[in-house]
Every structure is written in structure tokens, then in C-alpha cells.
């Protein structure tokens, strides 16, 4: 009897264990992934991964912008059509894609939006607003004019400000509250921006300032800070301007822009006074907020791109043999 009992128990135990094991295994197997994927050839895998990449890029954009607890940065970039435009905008967008809660306001110096910029912005993956404003002929630089002769981009930046004010007036509730915290930055399309710069400017109460590299005929220009306040500006050129600072060297809180509707860039301003024409309506020097380690670090550079030599292209075009104009450069 005992032996039999033992056997019976063993058997029951064995049966239960194996049944449980089978059920467990079946449950695991039930979640099998699609093993068909492993039969794919290398090329198919790569194109499948490309698709993944695209999806991931879309995901970053939405995820980056989901970080709604940080103030938004509105970047106003005036741009105009020339050979290097697409290249400049491309590498600029690569920088902006890393910055959370960034809204790019691109203002073309054109009578209507161009196809190049429209298509580019749509494919960029950024949150953007596409505007346009044509500079009147008398204010426009002519071919051969030195770049400093007339201030550039004033009308376009003012158009960006106008859009922001329009949006500010229409916003209400949570949106309006978010605008109170936002910051506005004027970024030209040929400068170089480090990622840290955007984190420095994000918390601006009125106007924040920092050094700019490779500008004013010097390695860098900067505000001089004593006791946490800006006391003067270190610049090699006309330091007696109200604000001898480059466009890339300051950011303004959106709140201040919305409460100062008269503040705009003066397109007729004297050379080098464009920034001052805007800032003097908004703030005094001692109200400036110094960033970048009390203005000792260079986080933005005023780079300029050479105009590409088109001698051979011009010669070919004269013969009617120019490169295919349908290929967008």
C-alpha cells in the first residue's frame, strides 16, 4: 500500500508539474515576436531600420515638446534666397532639433513663401512658423555692397515680432500663462550656436546677455559684469552705443515684448545701431541679466559663410549649358 501510495503521489506531482510547465511555456511562446523578420535579407533590414529611424525622429519631436514644464524659446530667423541658403538652414535645423520646446519662426525676405523653404521646413521635424516680408528696395543691399552698409533683416524680425504679438493677444488661459514664461531669440541663419546657449537663455525675466565670438573685429565681444550686474561692454568698435551688442548676444522675454508694443527694429538705423534701436525701448543696462557664467564663456559664434565661386557655372550658363536648375541646391 505504501509503495503504491508513493507512486501515486509521485505520479500526481509529476503530472501537475509538467502541466504547469507546459502552460507556462505556452504563455511565454504566445508572446513570440514575428520571427518572419529574421528571414529578411540585409537590404530589407536596412530599409526597415530606415523606417524605424523616421518613426523615432517623429517621436523625439513630440517627446521633446512634451517637456511642457520648461519655458518655450521662440527663435526668429530672417533668411533670404542665395546659393548657400538651404545648406545654412539645414545645419541650423540640426542644432535646433536638440533643443526642447523650441519654436522656429522663419521669415523670408521675399514677396511670397518660396518652395525651397516651405519644403525644407515641412521635412525638418521642427515646430515652426513660416512668414515672409519683402525688404523695400531702398533699404536692400545691392550686389557688391559691403555687408555692413545697410542693416539687414530688420523688416523680417519686426514681422516675427508682429506675429508673436498677434499670437499673444489671441491666447488665453493656460496658453497665455505659458507665454508669460517664454523667451524670444534672434538667430541669424549663418551663425553657430552651441546647445548650452539655449539653456542659458531659457530663464530670462527681461533681457539676458552673453558674449558672442568672432564679432566686432575681435575674438569675442562681451558685456562686462561686476557684482552680478552689467556695467559696460567690452567691444572694439564704437563702445558708446546704447547697446554695443550683437543680435546673437541677447534674448528677450516674450512678456516684455508683449507689454512693449512700440519696441521694434529701426530699419533706418545707423550702422551698428540696429540692436540698440530695439533694446532701448525695453530695458536699461543695469537691468540686463548676465548669462554664460557671468559673461565669461563663448557659447555662440558670429560665423559667416563664403559666397561659393560660380565662375564656371556662369560661363556655362552663358553658353546655355548651365547645371540642371531643377536640382535644388
Amino acid at each position: 500500500m505504501r509503495m503504491r501510495l508513493k507512486l501515486k503521489t509521485v505520479f500526481v506531482l509529476y503530472f501537475t508539474v509538467s502541466l504547469l510547465g507546459l502552460i507556462y511555456a505556452l504563455m511565454q511562446l504566445g508572446q513570440r515576436c514575428d520571427c518572419r523578420g529574421h528571414d529578411m535579407s540585409k537590404d530589407q533590414q536596412i530599409s526597415q531600420l530606415r523606417g524605424e529611424l523616421q518613426k523615432l525622429q517623429e517621436h523625439i519631436k513630440t517627446e521633446l515638446n512634451k517637456k511642457t514644464d520648461v519655458p518655450k524659446i521662440y527663435v526668429i530667423t530672417p533668411t533670404y534666397a542665395r546659393l548657400v541658403q538651404k545648406a545654412e538652414l539645414t545645419r541650423l535645423s540640426h542644432t535646433f532639433l536638440h533643443v526642447p520646446q523650441l519654436h522656429w519662426i522663419v521669415v523670408e525676405d521675399a514677396p511670397q513663401p518660396t518652395l525651397l523653404v516651405t519644403d525644407f521646413l515641412a521635412a525638418s521635424g521642427l515646430t515652426y512658423t513660416h512668414l515672409h516680408k519683402l525688404t523695400p528696395k531702398d533699404r536692400k543691399l545691392q550686389e557688391g555692397d559691403p555687408s555692413w552698409l545697410k542693416p539687414r533683416g530688420a523688416e523680417q524680425r519686426n514681422e516675427g515680432l508682429r506675429w508673436l504679438r498677434e499670437m499673444g493677444a489671441a491666447a488665453e488661459g493656460k496658453e497665455a500663462a505659458a507665454l508669460e514664461e517664454a523667451v524670444v531669440y534672434f538667430a541669424d541663419d549663418d551663425n553657430t550656436y552651441s546647445l548650452q546657449l539655449f539653456e542659458e537663455m531659457r530663464y530670462t525675466y527681461r533681457v539676458s546677455v552673453w558674449p558672442v565670438g568672432l564679432v566686432g573685429g575681435m575674438k569675442f565681444e562681451r558685456p562686462v559684469v561686476e557684482d552680478g550686474k552689467v556695467v559696460r561692454f567690452h567691444t572694439g568698435w564704437r563702445p558708446n552705443r546704447p547697446f554695443p551688442i550683437d543680435m546673437a548676444g541677447f534674448a528677450v522675454s516674450l512678456r516684455l515684448i508683449l507689454t512693449s508694443p512700440q519696441a521694434r527694429f529701426d530699419g533706418d538705423a545707423q550702422m551698428g545701431f540696429l540692436e540698440s534701436s530695439f533694446l532701448q525701448h525695453l530695458v536699461t543696462m543695469d537691468e540686463l541679466e548676465p548669462k554664460a557664467d557671468l559673461c565669461t564663456k563663448v557659447l555662440v559664434w558670429h560665423t559667416r559663410t563664403e559666397k561659393p565661386k560660380m565662375k564656371r557655372e556662369d560661363a556655362l550658363q552663358k553658353q546655355g549649358l548651365g547645371s540642371d536648375p531643377d536640382v535644388e541646391v
Partner: protein, 334 residues
């Protein structure tokens, strides 16, 4: 009666095990075949059919899940075991715009998965500026340096005019690759020469990833044209070069216009850029003719009809206000 019982007992014992074995068998067979086919791909699952197929599958899924969430919070994108690595070789040298150029280049590279940046300085020692910059970007990098010998007999700062700029640096990087990877390893890689002042679209890197030997595409703003491009026939093969400047060069293409499969670099260990006696515009040919023939070239960028890279050049900044003694604090890095 006992007989039936016995039979029943035996059946009940055997049934679960047969079911189990059948199911395992079925799922074990499929990945077995897959592993045999995919001999070229980088997979870490080469431990073979011994591993549970279920683990293999769920690991794959997990990788995808991990990539989804981690990409959001980290730069650069997490390393993938499947994508071929792009080894980007960039020669660089100290000048005022260097940090700016490298910064915006890094901002572009931070979007490219499986990118390995080989930055080679033209200097006697690796500079702190570049060392710090590379570390802070978070990119996967290798920092090398080699100084191009200057011919002091020539005026001032000019380097030996017979050695084109960047050549020794690119060659050093090629040597490093050959010393680091042996031809037997299955590490899939693509080698690309990227100068620090050009502009690269993200699409370009995905186009070059599928290079088998040498792939080519158009480059904007070179040769005095809007763009230079390989000529591609209806069969999708390169048969010439659409350039004005010496289109009869063996490879009338800019440094930024081609990429080479790492296997080919390892397979031909004697292939380097020629140092001396190279005519202007023939540098690229000096390397490529040792590696590949015209018919082997793979045209990318929609059969060489799209521009995905621009040969931009940055203006030399005017530092006139620094004066002789320097106006700004030399300790501030630009």
C-alpha cells in the same frame, strides 16, 4: 480496468511532453534558418540554436522598445547591433573658427545612429580645446593627431605646398582603422571623409550606410559649379563625371562625394592618399584608383540627382580690432 488506467496514466504523462517538444521544435527551427542565411549581418545571436528562440525574439523587441524610449532622453542615439557603423574621418586644425565648426558639426552628428567620429588634429599634440569638446558632445569618437611638416624655408606660415591639407591626417585615420579592425571581423562599417567646414544632411548618412564597395553622389559648390555630379546611365552605372574642371580625372569627385566600405579598406591595406606630387584635384583619385574601378561605383541620392552635401566654406573672421597685443582675454576659449 487496471490496463486502461495504466494506458491513461501513460498518455497523461507523455502528452504534455510531446506538446512541449513539438512547440519548441517549431519555434526553434525558424531562427536556425535565419541565422544560417544572415552570415554577413552583425548579430550577437551567433550562439546559435542553443539559445531559446523566444529569447531572441523578445530581445529584438526589447531593443526596439529601448531605442524608442532612450532616444528621447539621450544624445546620441543608442548604438544598434544591426546598423553598419559610419566611421567619419575629419581632419582639423587650429584657427579662430575651429570650435564653432566642430560644434555645429557635432550637432549634426549627434542625430546619426552608429556614428564613430575619428577627429585628427594637424598638431604636434592633441589640444585641450578639441579634447574637451569631444568629451562634452557625448559622441563615440577617436581623437588622433599628426602634424603636417612645415617647410620653414617658405614664407611664414605656409605649409609644404606639395602635401595637400588634411592628407596626412586622413592617412593616419586609415592606418588606425586598419590597426583596429582585422579583415576577419564581421564588423560592418563605412568610411567617410568629412571636412569640418562642409554641411551634411542627415539623409546622406543613411544613403551611404548601404555601401558595398564605394558609393558616390553629387556635391554642391565644388569645381566652380552649383554642383558636381557623377554621370549615371540608364542601367544605374557610373560612366563619367559631370564637371568642368578636368572631367577626365579617374575620379573627378570631391572628398565629400564618396564613401568606402570598411571591408574594402581592410582588404587593400596599401591604399592611401598620395602625399606628394599630386596635382590639384587628383587627391581623391589617388586613393580611389587603388580600391575600385568606375563600374564598381554605386550611385546614391536618387541616382545622383539630389544634393545631400554642400561644400560650404566659412569666411575667415576679421580680427583687426585685436591689434598687435590682443584686446580680448586670451584665457577665454573661442
Amino acid at each position: 480496468m487496471p490496463k486502461r488506467r495504466d494506458i491513461l496514466a501513460i498518455v497523461l504523462i507523455v502528452l504534455p511532453w510531446t506538446l512541449l517538444i513539438t512547440v519548441w521544435h517549431q519555434s526553434a527551427i525558424a531562427p536556425l534558418f535565419a541565422i544560417r542565411k544572415d552570415d554577413g549581418t552583425e548579430t550577437r545571436h551567433d550562439t546559435g540554436p542553443a539559445t531559446d528562440s523566444k529569447e531572441y525574439c523578445s530581445q529584438d523587441k526589447d531593443i526596439v522598445e529601448v531605442v524608442r524610449t532612450e532616444y528621447v532622453y539621450t544624445r546620441p542615439p543608442p548604438w544598434s547591433d544591426v546598423l553598419p557603423t559610419i566611421h567619419v574621418i575629419t581632419p582639423t586644425y587650429s584657427r579662430p573658427v575651429q570650435k564653432a565648426e566642430l560644434t555645429r558639426l557635432a550637432n549634426t552628428f549627434l542625430h546619426v545612429p552608429n556614428l564613430h567620429w575619428i577627429l585628427v588634429e594637424d598638431s604636434q599634440r592633441r589640444t585641450p580645446l578639441v579634447t574637451r569638446l569631444l568629451r562634452e558632445t557625448g559622441l563615440n569618437y577617436t581623437h588622433l593627431n599628426v602634424e603636417t611638416p612645415r617647410n620653414y624655408k617658405l614664407r611664414g606660415d605656409t605649409r609644404d605646398p606639395r602635401i595637400p591639407r588634411g592628407t596626412m591626417q586622413r592617412n593616419l585615420a586609415l592606418r588606425w582603422l586598419r590597426e583596429t579592425f582585422n579583415s576577419n571581423s564581421s564588423q560592418a562599417g563605412i568610411v567617410y571623409f568629412a571636412d569640418d567646414d562642409n554641411t551634411y544632411s542627415l539623409e546622406l548618412f543613411e544613403e551611404m550606410r548601404s555601401t558595398r564597395k564605394v558609393s558616390v553622389w553629387p556635391v554642391a559648390f565644388v569645381g566652380g559649379l552649383r554642383y558636381e555630379s557623377p554621370k549615371v546611365n540608364a542601367a544605374g552605372k557610373v560612366y563619367g563625371w559631370k564637371t568642368v574642371f578636368d572631367p577626365h580625372r579617374p575620379f573627378a569627385i570631391d572628398m565629400a562625394g564618396f564613401a568606402i566600405n570598411l571591408r574594402l579598406i581592410l582588404f587593400k591595406p596599401q591604399a592611401y592618399f598620395k602625399l606628394r606630387g599630386v596635382k590639384g584635384g587628383y587627391q581623391e583619385s589617388s586613393l580611389l584608383r587603388e580600391l575600385v574601378t568606375l563600374s564598381d561605383l554605386e550611385p546614391k541620392a536618387a541616382n545622383c540627382t539630389k544634393i545631400l552635401v554642400w561644400h560650404t566654406r566659412t569666411e575667415k573672421p576679421v580680427l583687426v580690432n585685436e591689434g598687435k597685443k590682443g584686446f580680448t582675454d586670451p584665457n577665454v576659449e573661442i
